[in-house]
């Protein structure tokens, strides 16, 4: 079943890249993720996926094109988050200022084969949102929506805290070329990642210019017991609560029987 899904999505990718980029582009990217559907089971504790791909040249490829650069951006399901800053007031540390980050990815990873500065100019990097410093993270301040400069204190703190949990990461040597056109990169997923769809954007550069890009995706889903518990809790809250309360009473009663002394 999983293999079928993989085949299907590879075909879809092929089709998409073939249709989406009709002509004028000399290269095509063909990619595949080792697992399109990561299932969360009771013993789930994170996983590492592998992204494989190859650069397909055709007749229009300039013959002098020797080396390629790749930037892979993986972004998890979007979520709203609040970053708060503590300040000392009346002798105690309390949350004073805060920024809301609207629909920012729960997981964000940027992998490339060499430092981004060497791959593209700062303008291109900004335009293509290459790297954690350039990815758009929309903040809301009152009624204003804006993305601010990369060295904004709240943005820096947000990225740093996410990175500490392994949820935001940037690795300039994660993509490795096995042959001049065949590449691979690992996608480490910590256990805390959210369930949902993860978009993978692969951008191909040569000589500092973006040549082509392609997209793929994988999803993280809860199955079996985990999914049952999560959906029941969300959809039948009261029933779930009653069941939990009953479980509490049963556990208490069992204990009083097991440990009865008189």
């Amino acid at each position: 079943m999983r293999r079928l899904g993989l085949c299907l999505s590879v075909t879809t990718c092929l089709l998409a890249s073939a249709i989406g980029l009709p002509s004028a582009r000399a290269e095509r990217l063909i990619v595949s993720v080792s697992n399109q559907r990561v299932t969360v089971t009771p013993n789930y504790s994170g996983e590492e996926l592998v992204l494989f791909g190859s650069v397909e040249k055709d007749a229009e490829t300039p013959p002098d094109r020797a080396s390629y650069d790749l930037v892979v951006t993986i972004s998890g399901p979007p979520a709203d988050m609040v970053t708060r800053r503590k300040e000392r007031k009346f002798g105690i540390w309390i949350n004073t200022d805060y920024r809301e980050f609207i629909q920012v990815p729960d997981y964000l990873a940027v992998f490339s084969n060499r430092p981004l500065e060497a791959i593209a100019s700062p303008e291109i990097a900004r335009r293509q949102q290459l790297g954690l410093d350039n990815v758009r993270l929309t903040q809301r301040l009152g009624s204003d929506y804006a993305d601010v400069v990369p060295n904004d204190a709240f943005r820096r703190a947000f990225v740093r805290l996410r990175a500490e949990g392994g949820l935001y990461r940037e690795d300039m040597s994660a993509v490795s070329f096995l042959t001049p056109t065949l590449f691979r990169t690992g996608i480490p997923l910590p256990a805390e990642v959210a369930t949902g769809t993860y978009h993978v954007d692969i951008q191909l550069f040569a000589g500092g210019a973006l040549i082509t890009h392609t997209e793929t995706a994988f999803e993280i889903v809860k199955v079996g017991f985990e999914q049952f518990v999560a959906t029941t809790a969300r959809q039948n809250g009261l029933t779930y609560g009653l069941a939990t309360a009953f479980m509490a009473l049963m556990t208490g009663w069992m204990a009083s029987i097991v440990f009865r002394r008189d």
Binding site: Y44, V82, R85, L242, A248
Partner: protein
Amino acid sequence: MQLYLPIADLPVNVFLILAMGAAVGFVSGMFGIGGGFLMTPLLIFAGIAPGVAVASVASHIAASSFSGAISYWRRRAIDPTLAFVLLTGGVMGTALGVWTFSLLRSLGQLDLMIALSYVVLLTTVGGLMFWEGLRAIIRARRGTPVRIRRAGSHGWIHALPFKIRFKRSKIYLSVVPVIVVGLLIGFIGAVMGIGGGFILIPTMIYLLRVPTSTVIGTSMVLTLVTMLIATLLHAATNHLVDAVLALILMVGGVTGAQFGARAGQRIRGEHLRLLLGLLILAVGIRFAIELVIRPDDLFTIREVGVSE
């Protein structure tokens, strides 16, 4: 052994959670309290989101107080009339507390309010208990007779109307202060996410003068019912109760509570109060230090509740 928690959305070490449940259960069995004020901070420290921790601990406390209540019932150490009157106030207080909780949340600064009330409540109650226990020990050393009930000094509590006789506790008391105490405990419990046993027991002993023989069992009934209601409310409104986490905590908790109860019976009352006072004081001071000392990281991230 790692196990993935379906609501908390992260894997935990089962033995760590079991051990935490057992340790808190031991303390709760020993002193006859729910132990929520210890369990919730411990879970947050283990990386579980505060909302999930508070909600799941409620069901854990319900389980341990039920197993405690059963054994106290067998020893006829529960006053059903007193428990019922307390509950009338307790249920109202819980509803009022949930309402205040939502109000505080809409005003922001809920975290600060919770931290401040933890500090004020825990240091006051802990300090008083510690001081009282110390005085009792000193009195016992000197050989001064301990006067549990001061003859003739009935005070204003006994001037109140609607008096009824609480047979098993052998007291004759107005229902007004009992309902008010229940109301306060229910309110504090809902706002702070704790069972409130550590406030209820001293209040019953010193204010209502309920004899020690029925205090713990009766307070367990109140804790049981308020925590069951809290579990239902949290599950129905916030969807934050993690049943898997709760079950692990329960199994550890009820086991620990049995051993704790046995240990508690071997320690003398005033020593027990001194120890509990110290423990509560320590948790309160820890919260105070957290507020006063410059935090390692001034920034925190929290995911905004996903509204679907």
